[in-house]
């Protein structure tokens, strides 16, 4: 083996290991509300409790409450961003973020609608 191959191999391996580690750290698993409270960046999914959303002009955050599929867990979400366009009509909302001091601080929201592209419903 020539030294240049070894150097090349090391560089490639370093990058792949770095990538794998970053991936592992950035993975955000879907968890239940109870598991989310144990900390870590996760994704939770639930339905919007209607009427709970308001915009806090002080902190510039969108606040709302999600209720989980079983209908017993509730979680207050604070989202530092713009209210998604189809927020109220969403069948389900996915929040990606971290549980901190009693609320779930979301960095990203995915609003699940019947669909954005494939809005085709056959007339009955």
């Amino acid at each position: 083996m020539k030294p240049k191959y070894i150097i090349a191999a090391i560089v490639v391996i370093v990058f792949l290991v770095f990538g794998a580690f970053s991936l592992k750290k950035s993975l955000t698993p879907y968890v239940s509300f109870a598991q989310a409270q144990k900390g870590g960046t996760v994704q939770i999914i639930g339905k919007l409790v209607s009427g709970t959303d308001y915009y806090d002009t002080q902190t510039q955050k969108l606040a709302f409450t999600l209720i989980d599929d079983q209908g017993h867990g509730q979680m207050k979400i604070l989202y530092n961003g713009v209210k998604p366009g189809n927020f109220e009509q969403a069948t389900e909302i996915v929040a990606i973020g971290k549980y901190q001091n009693g609320t779930f601080e979301a960095d990203q929201l995915l609003v699940k609608c019947p669909s954005k592209y494939q809005g085709l419903e056959q007339p009955k």
Partner: protein
């Protein structure tokens, strides 16, 4: 059966026939003419199908489910045309058509290798065709409709007319190098394929790149897609094969000059296409529906997609394993600091980058198999692309200064010095401006350096003709692109402001006044803002409306474009609050007050145990009388629970509510809240708006345009 459907079946017949005849021509050339004729006929019938679908859109043929689902009779002509590819079925038809049309050119450029190249090319067409047959755009509704559902307003944009065709042009073009590479492997003849594939690779880079770029520009000026780039699976699916084709084009240069990198190029040509198929699978099968904002629904084509993916993979791996061990490779020994070696470093950098993006995009799928399905945060992509971008621009800054074989370092030092000093100075300036992050500073420094050294080379090369500068122009564009991305994504600032109607507010150096909602065509209302800057003011109208089609709030920003920064005004929410007044009244027994023509008198308390354990219902008996009537109302509280429950009453006028707020037991008084809706008063309107300051975003667009121009020039160079 509709004409379009009939010709789609004919297309299938002739495509399969062409496949069979090209297959037969692999051994002997007798049937080649017939094969080509079948391919022509398939192209012809596919074009008829496409015209039939277009015609159905233009004539509002709402018997067809696809036309019903994606258009309506009030759509303007351009959007009617783009409805063609607004859904999956139509976009597959477009892909198929573009494939056939490109195929006619491939027949020319394949020359004596027509049979094997067109055999594999036709196989890919069969793959697209099968998806179309499973889910045809010509399916009829059980009952014809009189009006369609309309086109998603997000897609009603001039860019919708060009963005999808460009992407599919790129996808179809990437099939060509794949077909050439597989054909070369099968024939065990590697002398011509790379020369013939070269312009096609440049063409794929141009069309797919333009598609991605236009998509980003569109996403920037229409809200709802989340900025110009969101690392969404659908976006990544087109980025990954683009990155591998960038690697391929660099590899082809080396092969052309000195015959090296043969295996690498074959591999890259094949993998670029396989990644297109894989990307189609990821985004069209519905496997990522939980993780993408684009979320295509599952059309039941998964089995086909998986079958074809495995078929292409098996053929490719089989051929590569069979041929690679015996493949003769030109060995060249060169200095590690030479242009040749730097090209190899760039290929590695791009390969690793595309692999890591692929890994992140596939994460939901991989984790689904291993444990629980997980997505990756966007920060993953930022984290991995930053160091690789630093490396890539480092190579970019040196490579134009290096000699092909071996570089004289003392000469290099002289050439490097001036760009180095200027780049350093500009980086320092940026540091003072506010770029404090070390990796950002590194990226910026190398990018500026790359920019300057390519700029110098560009002007040196210019006298030899514009075509000769293709490479430098592309690299110049890349450097600008990186600077634009760095500043606009890393150093934007934004704030959300509540603008009350008619009240001016100063934000940064601008003054904004919300003037009211403006009704527009198709209920796509906008909001009127008075935008004052440097003493001059004008009206601007970003859009904000509720779409019946998507059941979404639609927003379109106003962008004040400027050279150093864009000011981005995005309306978020319009709040209309009806005016009302609340007043508190304290009454003792027998005392009264007057409100909107009624005399309200506190008669007595009313207490009784509430049904649930230990709770009490406490009410206040109020006698309400006007000139012609009188009645008794009892607002009450239920106490004893964690918090009291309030039950209010409404006066006969329907506008005044009385709430029993408190019971003052010591003085035997009650506290009431009287809530009155004001009559006739205008509700107060408040517009919530996000004002963003996006620095140097224009460099991003300028860079993109230069990259595209450079690719165009390089095609011209390869063809001539």
């Amino acid at each position: 059966m509709l004409l379009g459907q009939a010709t789609l079946y004919l297309t299938t017949v002739f495509t399969l026939l062409a496949l069979a005849l090209y297959g037969a021509s692999l051994k002997n050339n007798r049937l080649l003419k017939l094969a080509r004729f079948s391919f022509w006929l398939a192209t012809f019938f596919c074009a008829i199908s496409s015209f039939a679908l277009l015609y159905a859109f233009l004539t509002h043929d709402f018997r067809i489910s696809y036309v019903f689902g994606y258009s309506s009779s009030d759509l303007p002509l351009f959007y009617l045309i783009s409805s063609f590819w607004a859904g999956q079925e139509g976009s597959f038809l477009l892909w198929l058509l573009i494939g056939f049309l490109l195929g006619l050119f491939v027949i020319k450029s394949a020359k004596e290798e027509q049979a094997p190249v067109l055999f594999y090319f036709t196989l890919v067409q069969v793959f697209i065709l099968f998806m179309l047959l499973k889910k045809s755009p010509f399916e009829l509704l059980p009952q014809a409709q009189t009006e369609g559902r309309g086109l998603n307003p997000l897609l009603q944009d001039p860019w919708m007319v060009v963005h999808p065709p460009l992407v599919f042009l790129g996808y179809a073009a990437l099939t060509v190098p794949f077909a050439f590479a597989i054909a070369a492997l099968q024939k065990n003849n590697f002398d011509t394929w790379y020369k013939r594939a070269f312009p096609w690779v440049s063409f794929s880079i141009l069309s797919l790149g333009a598609g991605i770029f236009v998509g980003g520009f569109w996403a920037y000026k229409v809200l709802g897609w989340g900025g110009y780039w969101g690392w969404d699976p659908v976006e990544n699916a087109s980025l990954i094969p683009w990155l591998t084709s960038l690697a391929l084009v660099h590899g082809l240069i080396l092969e052309k000059v000195q015959g090296s990198l043969r295996k690498t190029n074959l591999f890259l040509a094949i993998i670029s296409f396989l990644l297109v198929v894989y990307g189609t699978f990821l985004t069209r099968s519905g496997v990522l529906a939980d993780f993408s904002v684009h979320s295509f629904a599952d059309l039941g084509i998964n089995a086909y997609l998986i079958f074809f993916m495995l078929l292409f993979l098996a053929v490719s791996i089989g051929l590569m394993l069979g041929r690679f061990p015996a493949l003769k490779v030109q060995k060249t020994s060169t200095d590690p600091i030479s242009q040749q070696k730097f090209i190899i470093y760039v290929i590695w950098g791009l390969a690793i980058l595309s692999f890591l993006v692929l890994l992140g995009t596939s994460a939901p799928l991989i984790t689904k198999i291993l444990t629980q399905p997980s997505n990756v945060a966007i920060s993953y992509y930022v984290k991995i692309s930053l160091p690789l971008a630093v490396l890539l621009v480092l190579f970019l800054s040196f490579s134009p200064l290096l000699d092909w074989q071996k570089t004289d370092l003392t000469v290099l030092r002289k050439k490097v010095l001036l760009p180095f000093i200027i780049a350093l100075a500009l980086t320092l300036l940026s540091y003072l401006w506010g770029v404090k992050n070390l990796s950002h500073l590194l990226l910026l420094f190398f990018t500026l350096w790359a920019l300057l050294s390519n700029l110098v080379r560009f002007f040196r090369k210019l006298p030899e003709g514009l075509v000769q500068t293709a490479g430098f122009m592309t690299h110049l564009g890349f450097a600008l692109l990186v600077i634009g991305i760095l500043f606009s994504s890393g150093y934007s600032r934004s704030q959300r402001v509540a603008l009350e109607k008619g009240k001016p507010q100063t934000i940064e150096k601008f003054q904004l006044t919300y003037q009211g909602e403006i009704p527009e065509q198709n209920k796509q209302n906008s909001v009127s803002l008075l935008f004052a800057e440097n003493g001059k003011s004008r009206e601007v109208r970003p859009k904000l409306y509720f779409s019946d089609y998507t059941q979404e709030q639609m927003r379109k920003p106003y962008i004040r474009r400027g050279f150093t920064f864009d000011l981005y005004l995005a309306p978020l929410e319009l709040r209309k609050i009806a005016s009302h007044s609340d007043s508190a009244v304290i009454l003792g027994k027998g005392e009264s007050f007057e409100i909107s023509g009624y005399k309200v008198t506190f008669v007595d308390y009313e207490m009784e145990p509430h049904t649930e354990g230990g709770q009490m219902k406490i009410g206040a008996k109020l006698s309400v009388s006007s000139n012609d009537s009188s009645l008794t109302l009892v607002p009450y509280q239920i106490v004893g629970g964690e918090e009291p429950e309030f039950h209010d009453v409404t006066l006969p006028d329907g506008q005044t509510k009385i709430i029993l707020e408190k019971i003052i037991a010591d003085s035997r008084q009650i506290g009431l809240i009287v809530h009155t809706e004001a009559q006739g008063a205008e509700p107060t309107e408040t517009l919530l708006i996000e004002v963003s300051h996006k620095p140097l975003i224009n460099l991003l667009w300028l860079g993109g345009v230069l990259v595209m121009l450079g690719s165009l020039l390089s095609i011209k160079r390869r063809v001539s």
